[in-house]
Symmetry: C2
Subunit: 248 residues, 2 copies
């Protein structure tokens, strides 16, 4: 058996999410199907983060084991060949120590959320950004974001279906910056709760619109109640950028 | 009659090009249809550049006249409303002097060509970049490009169906730069021949692959023969960025 680590990029639009599900195509199932075509084995693919339906990845990481004698260069070419009709590309493949686990060995995950903030709808970036037609104050969003950095009980930003044992997470970084018509929210943490980034973005948008102050964000955090925070921002603006392994 | 100038962004993928044609949907026809729905008039829309099928625009400029008494703010909202099912957005609208002509008043046009230069296929940028899986030397492309800057007979880079009276054009700028996995070719000129940017990009790619030298590009230019230059790069990588008016 060889233990492989892969880095995967995908357009999340046509998928029910990373995870294999009965109700539609998933990135995990597409990778497992490509591996089956390649080596004739039923291979289980384990991802670092279970991205939701419509969420994209520029650097998802996954691992799997193959019994067939092969090497990393063959695996990446075979996967990309059998994935050629899917908007999924394997960017890197590496044979790694058997104790490497894409999910449990991860020490930090990095996400970016892209908001197109202008009155006209997106065209060339449709499905690649969320769209907020009213002007957002990115500086106000950036300031308000800082009260969420650090270790907190993020119950107010946690989806009701979240399976994490604890709502306490440490957010290492939450940066908001404007790039022309786009606002990017970048978040880094060892791990995230379900919908945590999208719920944070939906809340910061209230600040950007001038409806909430930074104190309101702080109060929402303290409430430890999902109903106290803002709405969930759409999936299409979210990107899993990369996953770190090893010492933070 | 009020004379309006508009700036338009579009995803060129589903269109036969800017220009109204019998064989499929065009951006021009979509704008004219939206104007008809708005003001009940048959309005002719004139664009600065006739982008080809599949070519995108971030800042196409057009003009038209409306008899109905209205203003720029109403026109932009009406157009974007009636265009809501098309990947076309009007970014700006302005009432201008009647002597403004989107095509003939233009003093400079700016294009960008995006090449995704990596072995794995594009996913989130599919249809937004061309894809060259073999490594390209962007520095060599940038050097070779310089022999095309200035006033030249560009017959070698001109589509056979080009309707321009003269093949002589002045290329003001032709920059090649790498941005991670992408290579951008940026070209500026008062006007371009049909397929000129795409034929230049296809030729520079031969340099990037190490198959051609800068001298080969120079010799292709001197040949004044389309067969002497490289292939036409795909439409999906090309963007009309902006159009200048007034003094250069």
């Amino acid at each position: 058996m060889t233990h492989f680590r892969i880095t995967v990029e995908y357009d999340g639009t046509p998928y029910v999410g990373w995870q294999r599900q009965d109700n539609g195509p998933s990135i995990q199932a597409a990778l497992e199907s490509a591996l089956r075509e390649f080596c004739g084995e039923d291979v289980a693919v384990h991802g670092a983060g279970r991205t939701d339906a419509g969420v994209h990845a520029l650097g998802q990481v996954a691992h799997f084991d193959i019994a067939r004698d092969t090497d990393a260069a063959t695996v990446i070419d075979a996967l990309n060949h059998f994935l050629r009709h899917e908007p999924i590309s394997v960017l890197e493949t590496e044979a790694v120590d058997e104790d490497f686990h894409a999910r449990f060995s991860a020490t930090r995950r990095h996400y970016r959320y892209r908001i197109l903030n202008r009155r006209p709808r997106p065209t060339v970036t449709r499905g690649r950004v969320s769209w907020v037609p009213v002007p957002l104050d990115a500086d106000a969003m950036a300031s308000a974001a800082q009260c969420l950095v650090g270790e907190h009980d993020f119950s107010s930003f946690r989806a009701s279906i979240c399976q994490a044992k604890s709502p306490v997470k440490t957010l290492d970084r939450l940066d908001v910056s404007r790039h022309g018509d786009e606002i990017h929210v970048e978040a880094s943490a060892r791990s995230f709760l379900h919908h945590q980034v999208r719920n944070i973005v939906g809340t910061l948008e209230l600040v950007g619109k001038g409806r909430w102050s930074a104190d309101d964000v702080s109060a929402a955090l303290d409430a430890r109640d999902r109903a106290a925070a803002g709405p969930t921002a759409p999936a299409c603006g979210l990107y899993l950028l990369s996953v770190d392994y090893g010492d933070v």
